[in-house]
């Protein structure tokens, strides 16, 4: 008798699974539904950014790139540094590029600040530690955040050697002014960071910070394409990256 019941339960389980998956297929994929990309989308194999520090530092106190980013992505402003949300910001040179201060004095860039953002590492430690795959590396090299999956454990914040990630300790709506309807806001309890404006790339636009810099200090392009602007800059100028010794292979380069 017991044996029979056991068999029955097994069978019922399998049947339920079958019915469940069948209905899933029916409701989600039952109809032929096609998806695609915008025809104007920018495609790359390894997106990267080159920052010309000398050009950037000519304009002391300039925050155009940061303002543009904050506006486009509905990034809240909180005065309390513990609640700060940062996607792109300035750090003193010795903090951004430690131990690289003394070598390149001809331009004097080690005296001023450096613009920092997520490095979109080729081997991102944040992705390795994320327990829910809320943060993941896309095929084009962008380290992406899926806010829907983030459970707020903050392992990624610990793992990131660049401090590129911020946690929403309180409702971000409290720190928002005008909301850009073109981009969602976030909720309390998720981690956020720069996503290389993947939502703009998908519509054929360059990242907001690159577009906002009138001095051409920020250059965006495909590292995999030898003819790209970033590759040309890297060929002609000396560039450093942040904490290369960690083996994360950052995608943000600094011309010094």
């Amino acid at each position: 008798m017991d044996e029979d019941r056991r068999k029955f339960l097994k069978l019922a389980g399998v049947a339920a699974l079958g019915i469940g998956s069948a209905s899933l297929v029916k409701t989600v994929n039952g109809k032929e539904r096609r998806s695609g990309k915008f025809p104007q989308a920018l495609e790359g194999k390894r997106w990267a950014m080159v920052i010309d520090l000398a050009k950037c530092q000519e304009h002391e106190g300039c925050t155009l790139c940061m303002n543009a980013c904050n506006q486009v992505h509905n990034i809240p402003h909180f005065d309390d540094p513990r609640h700060e949300i940062k996607w792109i910001w300035k750090e003193p040179f010795e903090n951004a590029l430690p131990n690289q201060e003394e070598d390149f004095l001809e331009q004097g860039v080690s005296k001023g600040p450096a613009v920092v953002l997520c490095n979109h590492c080729e081997r991102p430690p944040c992705v390795r530690v994320c327990p829910t795959q809320a943060t993941f590396k896309r095929e084009d090299g962008i380290v992406m955040m899926d806010m829907h999956r983030c459970i707020g454990c903050r392992y990624c914040i610990v793992a990131c050697p660049y401090g590129s990630r911020s946690f929403n300790w309180q409702d971000p709506h409290l720190g928002l002014g005008d909301i850009n309807p073109g981009y969602p806001t976030r909720m309390r309890g998720v981690v956020e960071k720069c996503i290389f404006c993947e939502e703009r790339l998908a519509k054929g636009k360059l990242p907001a910070c690159v577009e906002a810099c009138p001095y051409g200090a920020l250059t965006f392009g495909d590292l995999d394409d030898p003819g790209s602007k970033v590759r040309k800059l890297l060929k002609s100028r000396y560039a450093v990256r942040r904490k290369v010794e960690l083996g994360t292979r950052p995608g943000v380069f600094y011309l010094v």
Binding site: V28, R33, S35, G36, F136, M144, M147, I179, P181, P184
Partner: protein, 131 residues
Amino acid sequence: MYDSGKVITGLLAFAVLVTLPFWYTAAGGKGGFRPEPKLAPGLEGKKCVESKAFMRASHMDLLNLWRDEVVRQDLRVHFSPDGRAFEKSLTNTCLKCHSNTGEFCDRCHNYVGVQPYCWDCHMEKKLKGAE
């Protein structure tokens, strides 16, 4: 059986009482309250991204699919069965037409007791006429 008359009568009365709503409707009485989502003005005759029946039954599945495809696969355009293309966006595609979320979305959501948290993030302003 002791008191079979009372027991059976009682059981019958119980069965009738419990099924009363069904009898009431079957006898031509007006059914209970049903939510009636109201389209925003000017939407009559316009086509949604999928058929009305599909959207009514499966809009939540479609939205979940959109979410995953946009965020994780970078597929941002939805093609209707008749070939029309739409950006997959709750705020900028769905709510552009269905601007009266209070009368269109909340009525049913409240009735069936679901509280979708999509709008915690995906909205540009306070929902119009939220109930």
